[in-house]
Structures are given as structure tokens and as C-alpha cells.
Symmetry: C2
Subunit: 356 residues, 2 copies
């Protein structure tokens, strides 16, 4: 009997995604109508940790499908006055959110600095949305609209099902904002997420290859910049291996110097848009003898010198991250085991982090 909470919650994801699609569509359509009426000039998203990786997905999604510049908020600017000397006469100067759509993303909805950004949105008359697993949380109470994830209690310290639920909420919101309704492509999501669970044997094999490492880098681009960040975060949380995420474009600006024989590199080689870049990168990694784990799709075929994990094919690129994170979650789970750690009880960290 498998008693891992983490593995149970990973397996719940097809159901969580299916439930979001059916129960939230009417509500999200209404929120999208309100966004169009507000006609924002830009989007600001406040989030930390795993939720910040969902925000990275939204940056590319809103940018490419909704034509919106999307900023990741710097929450401390809403809680700390960084001016020196501080002016005696007036209160804290905060970044203006006038004409912005402001979105707060948080599993717990508790973090004071994220809530502070939503309060600033209200002060500046900006429309705001809370995406949270707790519809009664301070974050939900501070927002104009709430999208409840309905993922059920997440008992593992490492977030999995709330991440895929957050991405699904963002994909639904983008679609309804763009089309006034769900894009039909979303209907394929639950089956694709289910299919992604079949990557477990390949994920386990890749985990064995990574087990002796002390550090690795995780590369992705476009929509899968988020996948690279979230895969790296799961690895750090669960396996204590230092995994640094990078855009494969930024990686060329210096960090490429790291790569030598045996250096472990995880590449999320997915989507046709960056195929030639991924090809050149994988050529270089092979030439330098790096230990490569490639999460790849049909557009970026498996290579003999790599440990490969095939990603589900049924989704367009903009939805692919919702299924593609699952093999990475499974890899992190097996890597924890291979390194002798209990994935249900990571040391030092707690489920709800209150940052100010």
C-alpha cells in the first residue's frame, strides 16, 4: 500500500483539473467580463514560492494571448518603506496600481505581503482577483473577485495539486478574457494530466541518474519557463539538491560556463517555437558531456545520449505546462527516495509561510 501523501496528491490532479473546468466556468466567465469592462493597461501578479511559478506561466500566457504586459509584483514595496531618509511628512510611497489588473495567487491566502498588494489595488481603484485554495482567507477577503481552487486540503508540504489548479484557473481566465468563453482545447486537459502520470517509470529512471548530484540546472523557455522554475523548486524542497532554474536564453549570458562533463542539466524541451534553440543547446550539452534529462515532446524528439521523459501530446503549447509539471513532480518524488529522504516531511519548511 502506498501511503505517501505527496504521491496521493500528485495522483489527484486529473480530478482537480476536471473539477475546476466544470464548476468554475460560469464564475470565471463573469470575472472576464468585468476585466474587459475595466480595460486594464497592464497586469500585476503578487505571489511567492510555487504560486510565483504559476505567475510566471501567466506572464507568457497573458502576454501572448491577451496582449498584456504582466509584471510580477515586488511585494516588499507594499509593506516596507525603502526610502532613506524617510520623509517625515507623508506616508509610504507605493507603486501605483491605477489601470492595472491585480491578481494575488496563494494556496493558503495568508501571506501578509501578498494581501498588502491586494489592499493597494483597492486603494488605487484597480480590479483584483484572488486565486486561492481558501475562499475565506485574508487574500480572498481583500479581492474584488475570488477564484477558489477547490483542490481539497493539500497536506503535503510540497505543493502539487494546487499548482496545477492555479495554472488551470489562469488558463480559463485568459481564455474567457480573450474569447468570452472557454477555448475548446481546454477540454483535453483532464485526460492529458491523467496521461502524464504514466511517465512515472521514466521519471524514476531519470531520478536514479540524478541521485548522486549535489547541484543541477533546469532550463526552459516560453510557457515552460514556469515548468523549469517549478521543477527546480520541487527538487530543492524534496531532495536538498540545489537546482537552479534558468531561461535557456539567459543561460547563455554567463551560467553556461558551469557546464562540464557530468554536470546534470534538466531541459524542458517542449513546443515548436524554440526548437532550433533547444537543438543547439542539446548539441552543446552533448558535446560537453553533460548528464542530460530531457522532458520532451514530439517536436523535440528524444536523443540517445539523454535520459528522456516523454510529455503528453494532446495539448497545445499554451496548455502544456499543466500536464508537463507532473513528470517533474514524480521525478522529484523518486529523487527524494533515491537520496534517502522522506518526501512527505521536508525539513525546515512549513506549509504556510508568512512573509512581510
Amino acid at each position: 500500500v502506498n501511503t505517501s501523501l505527496l504521491l496521493q496528491e500528485i495522483a489527484e490532479q486529473p480530478g482537480v483539473v476536471a473539477r475546476m473546468l466544470t464548476t468554475q466556468v460560469a464564475h470565471i466567465t463573469q470575472i472576464a467580463d468585468a476585466i474587459r469592462a475595466a480595460n486594464p493597461r497592464f497586469v500585476v501578479i503578487a505571489a511567492r514560492g510555487t504560486s510565483d511559478n504559476a505567475a510566471r506561466y501567466a506572464q507568457y500566457l497573458f502576454g501572448s494571448h491577451n496582449g498584456m504586459t504582466t509584471a510580477l509584483a515586488t511585494p516588499s514595496l507594499y509593506t516596507a518603506d525603502l526610502r532613506t531618509p524617510q520623509p517625515a511628512a507623508n506616508g509610504q510611497l507605493q507603486p501605483s496600481l491605477r489601470d492595472a489588473l491585480v491578481i494575488g495567487i496563494s494556496q493558503s491566502g495568508q501571506s501578509p505581503d501578498i494581501v498588502a498588494v491586494l489592499h493597494a489595488a483597492r486603494r488605487d481603484g484597480a480590479l483584483s482577483i484572488a486565486i486561492t485554495n481558501d475562499a475565506d482567507s485574508p487574500l480572498a477577503q481583500a479581492a474584488t473577485h475570488v477564484i477558489a481552487l477547490g483542490a481539497g486540503e493539500e497536506r503535503s508540504v510540497a505543493a502539487t495539486k494546487t499548482y496545477t489548479a492555479q495554472l488551470t484557473a489562469l488558463a480559463m481566465l485568459s481564455s474567457c478574457w480573450r474569447l468570452g468563453a472557454l477555448d475548446p482545447a481546454l477540454a483535453a486537459l483532464p485526460a492529458a494530466v491523467q496521461a502524464a502520470l504514466a511517465a512515472e517509470p521514466a521519471a524514476r529512471t531519470a531520478a536514479q541518474a540524478l541521485a548522486p548530484a549535489e547541484r543541477c540546472v533546469v532550463l526552459g523557455r516560453g510557457f515552460h519557463y514556469a515548468t523549469a522554475f517549478e521543477a527546480a523548486l520541487k527538487i530543492k524542497e524534496l531532495t536538498y539538491l540545489l537546482a537552479e532554474p534558468y531561461s535557456s536564453a539567459d543561460f547563455k549570458h554567463g551560467p553556461m560556463a558551469l557546464i562540464e562533463g557530468g554536470f546534470p542539466v534538466i531541459v524542458v524541451a517542449a513546443g515548436a517555437a524554440f526548437k532550433s534553440e533547444f537543438d543547439a543547446l542539446r548539441d552543446l550539452l552533448a558535446e560537453r558531456g553533460a548528464t542530460v534529462v530531457a522532458l520532451h515532446d514530439a517536436a523535440n524528439p528524444a536523443r540517445a545520449n539523454e535520459h528522456t521523459i516523454a510529455l503528453p501530446e494532446a495539448l497545445p503549447d499554451w496548455l502544456s505546462p499543466i500536464a508537463s509539471i507532473i513528470p517533474a513532480q514524480l521525478m522529484a518524488y523518486h529523487l527524494a527516495h533515491a537520496r534517502g529522504h522522506n518526501p512527505d516531511a521536508p525539513r525546515t519548511i512549513s506549509k504556510v509561510t508568512l512573509t512581510r
Copy 2:
């Protein structure tokens, strides 16, 4: 005779900063007038590598001193159409830059994706500024206004003097935008940058402590979030040690699990605003037996269990990053030597990186 190009360019920084202050003030004052006339709603900065770390500094500076939400651009959204299937009828959908102030930062001014963001600014009628060491570069030609760094040719692959020149340009711009003139505090910059060079012995000692490591994390917050990123990038470029930068706030969301006895952590503990947070962090790191290098100021005093590097005191927090990066540059230089690498010739990377 010291023949290291890198060390020569590190030592040139007081002069570079002093020259920026005297030669560019009239020009930057005019640009600031144009910004006020344009009345932007938000700022978008396009940059990669070291220049992107200058953009991180600007996020906090414009947010706290100019009341502006500042987004780091996702340049690939201006060069690649990420929609699938791609609509047959219309061209690429790009994030709107209407009502934005758009700033491109690049030492060389060559990178096509950064130039593409400035072209999009022109298309959308947005005011744009190029901050570059080459006033004839494609980036400069695409912008409404150009701030030339005048740092002289940077021959080292690892950027140093162009980074401090970029920060100085941004600090001058923020000041002129806010006050219509340079803040008198800027006058202390050249001497503070000169004083920072005196940290070399402490930086060398800290480098010895880090030399055996295979990975480390670099923590900072607020204005020094940029310092943490740039210190980590210098270490990766020059020493092939995997150095991951983190906001000390985000670090609590998972990555804290990494820390065990002997894990190397570099903390940029500077500024009064986050002193209580740094105190708690340093307590925890001591408890876990981490190997800590603290770049600290008077507000965050040295601790006996840490390798400490004192930062110059003459600057307000918002200018501190311009001097505080210098001990980190020196530490990376000595770390390269201690690990047997030539800091003037990092492997695999080149000075001008053309990303699309």
C-alpha cells in the same frame, strides 16, 4: 604587476561612476522632463544577464521612489509567436506597451530580442530609453533617448564597470524624475565606490572559505535583491560554482530545506528595513551550522560565526548597491583563483550574446 583585465576594470569603477555623474546630468535631467510629460502608467525594462540585474535594482528604486510598478520584460514575447494554432489572418500578438515607459539595458546594445522590445515601444507610442555602452548600437538607434554609459571598452567577459555604470544611470534617472535634479546624496558615490575596493582582503578570505564548495545560495532583499543576483552571476561565470540567488523572503518558501551543516550561504545583510528578517535568518543559519559569508553594513553588525565583509557606510540604502557589488566582484575574482581558474577567460561564454 597585476595583469588581470578583470581586476583592472573593477578598479576603474570609481572613475566610471564619477564620470557618469558629471557628464550625463544635463542630458538625464532632460530625459526625466520628457518622462514627466509622457506621464507613463508603468515601466517595462528589457535586459538579460548582468543588465537584467540592473533592471532588478530599478524595480525597487522606481517602485519605492517614483511610485511606478516596474515589469521585467519577457523579451521572447516580442520575437516568437507562442500561440498554437497560430491564427492565419493576423500578425503576432505582442504585449501592449501603451502608456508604458520602456527601458532597454544592454552593455553591447546588440541583442535582437531586447531591440525588439524597443521597436514595440515605438509601435505603441511609448517613450523609450536605451542604457548602453555603445551609443551607435541597434538598441540606441531604436530608442527615443539614449544614456551612454561611457565606461570605456569592457574587455573582460564578466561585466563589472558597465553594471555599476548602469546602476548609476538608473539612480540618476530616478532622482531627476522625482526631484527634477540630482539628489545631493549621489555626490557621495565615487568615494563610496572607491572605499569599497578596500574590502579586498576580507573578500579574499571569504573566497578561501567558499573555495571547496560545489554550490551555494546568495540571499538579499529590497535594493540588494539585485546585489544577490549579480554576485551569484559573477560567481557562476568566473568560478563554475553553482550559486543560486534568492530573495530571503522566497527562500523560506521551500529552498530553506537545503540548509544543513556546512552549506555555504552568502547573505547581503544591508539596510535597516529588513534587519529583523536578516537577524532571524542569520540565527537560523547559525543554528544549522551553515557556512555563512555576510556582506553587512552597520545596521546589520558582524557576527563571530560568520565570514564577514563590511560594506561602505556613506550611502543611503537606495544607493548602496552601487558600491556593495564591488566586494562581491572581488570575492568572485579571488574565488576563481582559489579554484584554479583564469578569471579573464571564462569558458564557453562570449561577451556579446545574441538571443532571439
